[in-house]
Symmetry: C2
């Protein structure tokens, strides 16, 4: 079952940061990587991912560079130092969040 838009809210940024720990990727490749890493569950649209990447760059968690390799115009994103730290916080927050929700749901 594909993931619902509403349940994803607030959790997207961490996913984007996480997928970039494997090395820089351009936007389109980020979408594919998320799909691959989630077994197809995370089939995010461009209208979701591109604005989020812009936001993360604006916040200084990502840096981007235009690349004309292979003739095609691509914007390649990479994690900044601050982005790495933020990812650490995101992971901790997720553990806490998932623990809380899981506990209440199971009760």
């Amino acid at each position: 079952m594909a993931i619902d838009a509403e349940e994803l809210k607030g959790h997207l940024d961490g996913l984007l940061l996480a997928v970039l720990t494997g090395g820089p990727l351009h936007g389109y490749a980020v979408i594919e990587a998320l799909k691959a890493r989630s077994g197809g569950e995370l089939a995010l649209s461009e209208g979701t991912v591109y604005p989020a990447l812009h936001r993360l760059e604006r916040e200084g968690l990502l840096a981007s560079e235009w690349s004309s390799e292979s003739g095609r115009r691509r914007r390649v994103y990479s994690l900044t130092r601050r982005g790495e730290r933020a990812l650490g916080e995101r992971r901790a927050r997720w553990e806490s969040f998932a623990g809380t929700i899981g506990a209440v749901l199971a009760a």
Copy 2:
């Protein structure tokens, strides 16, 4: 760390259904029960919970009754049969969601 508004989106309904498996509760008590069961992490406001309870009742997952016991006017909510089924689905969805997000974040 208290739970953020955005990350909770889409997950609240399941929590409300779950907290009512212990028996009927009125709205204010639902808020307290969630706080207690989450170790204080889920400190939800009335502006969050009351509309959600109304929505769930409108969807037929909860039923409510006015109670004047103790002189105080209270609306007591209980799970319907459909609500119980919906809770089962919510729990399954949560497992799937948490598994997917957790896997991508950890990768």
